[in-house]
């Protein structure tokens, strides 16, 4: 992948990427596959036999599972070697997150501990803090939690009221306040707490040990799903936090919180991917066993449609998940060479991709909700039985649209962040958009006579990008600084951007796959791409039409242009879906 240009976040809107420059999951090396297998073996021996027991919410069961994961080294995959970790690259971290993502409640406890519970200190802590805490978090000797949300500060995280005042002798911060919805709260030894020092405008981050006097942990919340993961409120009553427990600089906490959330969002993309594959495996196995009207239900077109949609959407998010993961690894390497502070090379690279992180968070969590919903449906009445894992999967999925920043917040971030970055001059967006908008009549790139399969699909994606640019131009012209309060329009633009990024990632993966699997081997993947792009065109069109109707200026011409730009040749998507479903049915598991 030499000479690959590292794109700015959101720059995919105006740049094309070559297939040879994307990483695809078919390229995992032997060691990465072995790590994934270890995660899988762990789930099968330690978690799956105990799912119901875990969901009783008894802390000792979850703690024992976490410790066991620690013994295997799974809690230290992302932690540098100096601190008892294994310093794995980002792609490997994501592959592990994907595999563990099929672990229901355990997955949430695992990710909260090894991600948001450990990495703020690993990335922003000083050497002493890392030695003292991170090296024990990496092994599971200590369990971590991340405490940002408060009763009155959820989406508006910087508005928290928890306070830290320097003691008279200058040795402690005296912390007072309350946190809410804290994952692992019931048993975590260590909390990264975000609070404001005196009357600072911005948060600071602190390490608070569970047994500091004045830390009071409530009983666990009763939840819709992930019932085995502990979620509770924590109160801080005059808690003396040693001054050396401040993480990063004073006032840097909000940045810490945000960058860690970017990381959490990307990893959530991997997590839900694993959960989606698990739900698909459960779905197809049942469809291959259940008979009605004398035949297996997997022979019905309606069921094949569901199975195929589950697979295609999952394959698409998988393509995007590993594309961005490897882009992050490339940037980490570049950061290392630039002489950036060693502790921060990773988190800087991860948070660079804020737009893509938000895309993965929103799109993947919505795909998972779709997949688990259809899983229940394929099971029929059985899907409604609490004895079935698809029932658990259905309930457990829902949280993914709420935490790590709600999907509303993240959806807005997709378009808003890209535009902000462009405004700052990171790449040209508005100039290109304006030029494009000046000539609507011939805007759509038309079929080229000797265009091959991939060239055709790339042309579609380029046309979809033009739709996004037209919408960005029209919206900024119309609303200017008030655009931020036109959330519906911003969301339309975000939806278009998501279709583009997911579609492009899938296209590039299939194109690269052809070099590995050959013309024959890639046919089924082309079927998936056909369906995806066909559907995308409709979604892009609808989002754009909604946006332009709200903008009101030049509506007819813009809608005509959008119709041209989303005009894709029709393919027999019913047959394409059937072939995808038939492969799944034949393999009896997700094996794409």
């Amino acid at each position: 992948m030499e000479n690959k240009k590292i794109l700015k976040s959101g720059e995919f809107l105006v740049e094309e990427t070559e297939a040879k420059n994307v990483f695809i999951p078919e390229e995992f090396n032997e060691e990465q596959k072995m790590i994934a297998q270890t995660c899988q073996d762990f789930l099968e021996t330690e978690i799956y036999p105990k799912l119901d027991e875990i969901d009783t919410g008894k802390h000792e069961i979850m703690v024992a599972a976490l410790k066991k994961a620690g013994e295997l080294g799974l809690l230290g995959i992302a932690v540098p070697e100096e601190y008892n970790g294994f310093g794995q690259n980002f792609v490997t971290q994501m592959l592990a997150a994907e595999t563990i993502g099929a672990g229901y409640s355990f997955s949430v406890a695992f990710m909260a501990h090894s991600g948001i519970g450990t990495l703020p200190i690993a990335y922003y802590g000083n050497d002493e803090q890392r030695k003292k805490y991170v090296s024990k978090l990496a092994t599971g000797e200590l369990i971590g939690a991340y405490c940002l949300t408060e009763p009155n500060a959820g989406s508006d995280a910087n508005s928290g009221k928890t306070q830290a005042k320097l003691s008279e002798d200058g040795k402690h911060y005296i912390m007072n306040g309350q946190k809410m919805w804290i994952t692992n709260a019931g048993f975590a030894d260590l909390q990264t707490v975000f609070a404001k020092i005196d009357n600072d405008r911005c948060l600071s981050a602190f390490i608070v040990e569970r047994n500091y006097p004045g830390v009071v942990i409530n009983v666990d919340e009763k939840k819709m799903g992930i019932k085995g993961s502990s979620t509770a409120q924590i109160f801080y009553n005059d808690v003396k936090v040693p001054v050396e427990n401040l993480v990063g600089a004073r006032g840097e906490g909000f940045r810490v919180a945000l960058t860690i959330l970017h990381m959490g969002r990307i990893k959530l993309g991997a997590n839900v991917l694993g959960a989606a594959k698990k739900a698909i495996n459960d779905s197809v196995r049942y469809a291959n066993e259940r008979k009605q009207f004398g035949v297996l239900i997997s022979t019905f077109g309606a069921i094949k449609h569901k199975l195929a949609e589950q697979v295609i959407k999952t394959f698409a998010i998988e393509s995007a998940v590993y594309r961005v993961s490897s882009d992050i690894d490339d940037l980490i390497e570049q950061n290392k060479k630039s002489g950036m502070d060693k502790g921060r090379v990773s988190i800087e690279a991860i948070s660079h991709y804020a737009v893509e992180a938000a895309i993965l968070k929103v799109y993947s969590s919505e795909v998972l909700d779709f997949v688990v919903d259809e899983a229940v449906q394929i099971y029929g009445g059985m899907g409604y039985s609490a004895e079935m894992t698809v029932e658990k999967g259905y309930r457990d999925s829902r949280i993914n649209r709420i935490f790590e920043g709600t999907n509303e917040i993240n959806r807005l971030l997709v378009s808003d962040t890209a535009m902000k970055k462009a405004m700052k001059g990171e790449f040209d967006l508005f100039g290109i958009a304006e030029k494009l908008s000046a000539n609507l009549s011939n805007i759509a790139e038309k079929k080229n006579s000797n265009e091959n399969y991939y060239a055709e699909k790339k042309r579609y994606i380029r046309n979809f990008k033009k739709v996004a640019l037209l919408a960005i131009n029209a919206a900024t012209k119309k609303f200017d600084k008030k655009l931020i309060s036109e959330q519906e329009v911003l969301n339309n633009i975000s939806d278009i951007m998501m279709e583009i990024y997911i579609g492009e990632s899938t296209l590039l993966r299939v194109e690269k796959l052809e070099t590995l699997k050959g013309n024959e081997g890639v046919k089924i993947y082309k079927d998936m791409l056909d369906v995806l792009v066909f559907d995308s065109a409709e979604k892009v069109r609808k989002s754009a039409v909604d946006a332009f109707s709200a903008i009101e200026d030049n509506v007819d011409k813009l809608i005509n242009a959008v119709n041209d730009l989303t005009d894709v040749l029709s393919v027999n998507i019913k047959n394409a879906r059937r072939r995808v479903a038939d492969k799944l049915i034949e393999d009896n598991k997700y094996k794409f």
Binding site: M34, Q37, T38, F42, L72, F86, D587, K589
Partner: protein, 249 residues
């Protein structure tokens, strides 16, 4: 003492088996390969014995007859904890071929305890271990379900019809193990996986050996008819089905 575990590289047990070339060869496309389950348990027991031996067991080595594509399986054994890997660079043809290749190498490299699985989950011919002991002219014990070293003595239990049999033997010997030898295979830890990278994996070229058995043709079993589930209370229906449909009673 040194332990050697013979490992076979077999398709994952959930693989959908397909044949090509008119049913004369196994279709390897998209197959995931694993350590033969019996061998993996033998390795697990070997590691347990080594860990508890306080240094008396010097090393655990794994050996495989296979082409380069079986190296991931050998690396997995190294990740589980084996100290060294050996690969004999040949496509395994039949049990005799494999046993003869192993014997050839084992004449040069000495081991005290040589473990094999009782069968491999792909060809299930159950004779490599026995042939190997014969070729090496050392004792063999089959159906080993328990193995330990106590005061330098090898203690073995064998599963026999209706009970267990305790035996001891001198070293070197070939132990042919049953599933009971270990409860669960060891999961490779991150540390194990990382260190597998740097552990030695030696490759020997094969010697000229003719296979004794030729595979002529494979056939898949007839698909099973669907399983019928009957409510536990409904004994009448069960009897009826056993009588009239299955015709078993």
């Amino acid at each position: 003492m040194k332990i050697l575990v013979c490992i076979s590289n077999v398709p994952d047990t959930t693989t959908k088996i397909k044949f090509t070339n008119n049913g004369t060869s196994f279709d390897k496309t998209d197959v995931q390969w694993i350590i033969n389950p019996w061998d993996e348990l033998a390795l697990t027991r070997a590691m347990d014995i080594k860990d508890a031996s306080g240094g008396a067991i010097e090393s655990v080595t794994v050996i495989n007859v296979g082409l380069a594509d079986s190296e991931p399986t050998i690396r997995k054994a190294l990740a589980i904890g084996a100290d060294k890997g050996i690969r004999i660079n040949a496509e395994p043809k039949d049990s005799y071929f494999v046993a003869a290749q192993l014997a050839e190498v084992l004449k040069k490299e000495s081991f005290d305890i040589i473990l094999c699985g009782i069968e491999s989950s792909d060809f299930n011919s159950s004779c490599t271990g026995g042939m190997l002991s014969e070729l090496l002219d050392v004792p063999s014990v089959s159906s080993v379900s328990f193995l330990n070293i106590e005061n330098g003595q090898v203690k073995i239990k064998r599963e026999i019809d209706g009970g267990n049999e305790s035996v001891s033997t001198s070293v070197p010997f070939v132990g042919i193990v049953q599933k009971g030898i270990a409860i669960e295979p060891r999961i490779p830890s991150m540390r194990g996986i990382m260190s597998a990278r740097t552990k030695p994996l030696q490759v020997f070229e094969p010697v000229q050996v003719d296979a004794l058995v030729e595979y002529v043709n494979y056939e898949l079993p007839q698909p099973k008819s669907a399983c019928k589930k009957i409510e536990p209370e409904n004994v009448k229906e069960l009897v009826n089905l056993l009588h009239n449909e299955a015709k078993l009673i």
